[in-house]
């Protein structure tokens, strides 16, 4: 009995301690009939550590500057309407949390890059579960480390026919390290997620679609991880430029279809891995330029125009255990490059045989067709696609290769398509 009492006391003290922590900052309510009727007012009066709780309603406000560590929380989706007059929230303090708000209406401003939420040179800012509608920039972080952007919906406008310069980015990070961007849904902007000089960050489980330029765009952003994201119907799914040590895994690149569209555009990227991604119905699934030491494994390339466009400036890239199905061109290259390796991939166009039944084809497969080389060298010849002559030439070249790069070859192509989840054993054996 005594023991139980003791326990009870300890429990009570713990509860008190915890509630004391919450009570440390007081809560300032904002609503039509509360002490504070505007967010700006409440933020001004709040002390560091306080919570500003915004109740349901529409607030016509802009230029709210958060200059102390606060929690701005919305209950029942309050709406702050910027009325196209300027930025809505500007965070000028560290340890700020912004949660559960709906922010909308920001005009295109070429001079200031107005955003719904801008964080300026702070750290530990958390932006959670907000809805941002019809803005120029959505969430804009500059020089801010250790920030979390999670569960937000950023939705712009219908981008068809718009000019790139008239649109901002949904989530824009500039010189921000250790950021976590996850579970966001972005659409209708220039770039869905834009990272420049962002290091050691994670981008997970985001959905980026219908953006004019790129779903995810990053430059000079080393050591980042991108997993389980989906990029649909963007100008190009992901563009990676001038970057190294990237991990891209389990992403889906879909329907990036158009005259100048790419699933994944790689330019000057090195020492990175691309595992278990799915590329479906892109004009060009992966376009690689001056990229080296990339490890591209266990991806699915399905029904793309070009599965891989490997320019001859790339070297030491390894393609292994990928599925190539239903692509118009599997691999095309513009030179006689032999610096990249293809091993144990599955090609649906492969017509070899497997006498010793080890599930590997006995005849090497050359994924570059004569016609794809011709198209790469003389672009107008693409107009002869599906011409009978072209099929004939391709088949002749397959039997007696003389023009296609002799060494760009998969020596042991797989006979069967890899089910990436079920065939672990096979992949282990081959590894």
């Amino acid at each position: 009995m005594k023991d139980l009492n003791k326990l009870y006391y300890i429990f009570c003290t713990l509860v008190l301690l915890l509630s004391g922590n919450v009570a440390f900052g007081s809560t300032l309510k904002v609503c039509k009939s509360c002490a504070y009727t505007s967010v700006k007012q409440a933020v001004k009066m709040a002390k560091p550590g306080d919570t500003v709780l915004i109740e349901k309603g529409v607030y016509q406000e802009h230029g709210i500057e958060i200059d102390k560590p606060l929690t701005i929380q919305g209950s029942d989706n309050p709406v702050i309407d910027g009325n196209y007059k300027g930025q809505i929230l500007t965070v000028l303090a560290s340890n700020v949390t912004i949660q559960g708000l709906t922010l909308k209406n920001i005009a295109t401003s070429y001079r200031q890059d107005d955003a719904a939420i801008r964080v300026v040179e702070q750290s530990n800012v958390r932006i959670l579960n907000n809805t941002i509608l019809n803005t120029y920039f959505g969430i804009y972080l500059q020089n801010s480390d250790n920030c979390v952007i999670k569960g937000n919906v950023v939705s712009g406008k219908n981008v068809t026919g718009l000019n790139e310069s008239s649109l901002g980015n949904a989530i824009h990070l500039w010189y921000c390290n250790n950021a976590e961007i996850s579970n966001n849904k972005v659409r209708g902007h220039r770039d869905g997620i834009y990272l420049e000089f962002v290091k050691d960050s994670e981008v997970n489980n985001n959905l980026s679609r219908h953006n004019l330029r790129y779903g995810l765009h990053f430059m000079f952003s080393d050591r980042n991880v991108y997993t389980y994201n989906t990029f649909t119907k963007n100008g190009a799914g992901v563009a990676v430029m001038y970057t190294r040590d990237i991990r891209m895994e389990h992403n889906t690149f879909e329907d990036n279809w158009g005259a100048a569209s790419y699933g994944l555009l790689l330019k000057e990227i090195t020492n990175s891995v691309i595992y278990n991604n799915t590329f479906r119905r892109n004009t060009t699934a992966i376009y690689m330029e001056s990229s080296s030491r990339l490890d591209i494994q266990r991806n699915d390339f399905d029904r793309n125009g070009w599965a891989v466009r490997l320019l001859s400036s790339c070297s030491d890239d390894v393609f292994k255990l990928n599925n190539f199905t239903g692509n118009s061109f599997d691999v095309s290259t513009n030179g006689n490059s032999t610096l990249n390796k293809f091993e144990n991939n599955y090609w649906d166009k492969y017509s070899g045989y497997d006498l010793d039944k080890d599930k590997l084809g006995d005849v090497p497969y050359r994924p570059v067709s004569l016609y794809s080389m011709l198209v790469e060298r003389v672009p107008p010849s693409v107009m002869f696609m599906r011409s009978f002559m072209v099929d004939l030439l391709d088949n002749m070249e397959k039997v007696l290769p003389s023009f296609i790069p002799e060494n760009l070859v998969d020596e042991q192509p797989l006979m069967k398509k890899i089910e990436h989840d079920n065939d672990r054993k096979l992949t282990q054996v081959l590894r």
């Binding site: 279809w257 158009g258 005259a259 569209s261 004009t283 125009g305 070009w306 118009s328 011709l374 060298r377 003389v378 672009p379 107008p380 010849s381 693409v382 107009m383 002869f384 696609m385 599906r386 011409s387 009978f388 002559m389 072209v390 004939l392 030439l393």
Partner: protein, 255 residues
């Protein structure tokens, strides 16, 4: 003239080749549409087959038919009928029955399984190609009285348009790769009805996204109603030119 067309028509239907041709096309298109995949994909596969088989069958059938009905034509020439009229009715009889077969064999399945602008273009292109190659067949047959020679010329014509021409153009493009060739390619494809037909259909499928800059140029020209009109006008020219020249040879020739 209508009477002669009717006779030619009956004659063709009686010898069952056209019936077999219709069935062949019908089976092919129904098979392709049911093979799974989207109607767009079926139209794409159908296009390849149509552009290969339709010209071949049209040209061979029309040539043999022309030589086989020589006696009938001689009989008609003995009557007070204008030679041009005889020739015209022969041409229309053959071309219409073949395109009728094509419309039944391909048009009907397209209507049933994949009605779209692209399907419509495919059918139009097929009909035009039938007319063009029947006209070429007649040209080949009026040039020489020798049946074997005539069929040889017809086959050569098919071979040239279906295969050799593309090879030559690809060779030209490859040789002059350093020059801007977009407009040149446009002009060169207009000189081959098969290429022209293929491009009209392809540009309306989403494969056209693969065609890059050249494709965009083509689309800007052929994408509008005016451009499509121009393309079909070109195809029409491809019917008219061989037909008129062969008709002229036929009316002057000693039979």
């Amino acid at each position: 003239m209508n009477k002669i067309i009717k006779y030619v028509f009956y004659d063709i239907i009686r010898n069952k080749i056209v019936l077999a041709y219709t069935l062949f096309l019908l089976l092919l298109s129904i098979g392709l549409f049911n093979l799974g995949g989207s109607p767009d994909k079926a139209i794409l596969s159908l296009l390849n087959l149509v552009l290969l088989t339709v010209p071949l069958i049209s040209i061979v059938f029309a040539t043999t038919h022309f030589y086989n009905s020589y006696e009938f034509m001689e009989l008609l020439v003995a009557q007070p009928i204008n030679r041009k009229k005889i020739f015209m009715s022969e041409f229309l009889g053959v071309a219409c029955s073949l395109s009728g077969a094509f419309i039944l064999g391909v048009g009907l399945p397209v209507l049933l399984f994949g009605v779209s602008i692209t399907g419509l273009y495919l059918v139009f292109t097929g009909v035009f190609i039938t007319f063009i190659f029947v006209a070429m067949a007649f040209l080949a047959s009026v040039i020489t009285r020798d049946k074997a020679k005539g069929i040889g010329i017809a086959l050569l014509l098919w071979f040239y348009f279906a295969l050799i021409y593309d090879g030559i153009v690809l060779f030209i493009l490859y040789t002059f790769a350093d020059y801007p060739l977009e407009s040149a390619t446009l002009a060169l494809t207009a000189l081959n009805p098969i290429d022209l037909g293929r491009i009209i259909v392809l540009l309306n499928l989403d494969v056209s996204a693969l065609m890059g800059y050249t494709g965009a140029l083509y689309k800007s020209i052929l994408g509008s109603l005016w451009g499509i009109g121009l393309a079909f006008a070109l195809l029409f020219l491809w019917v008219i030119v061989p037909f008129i020249s062969s008709s002229r040879i036929f009316s002057k020739r000693d039979l």
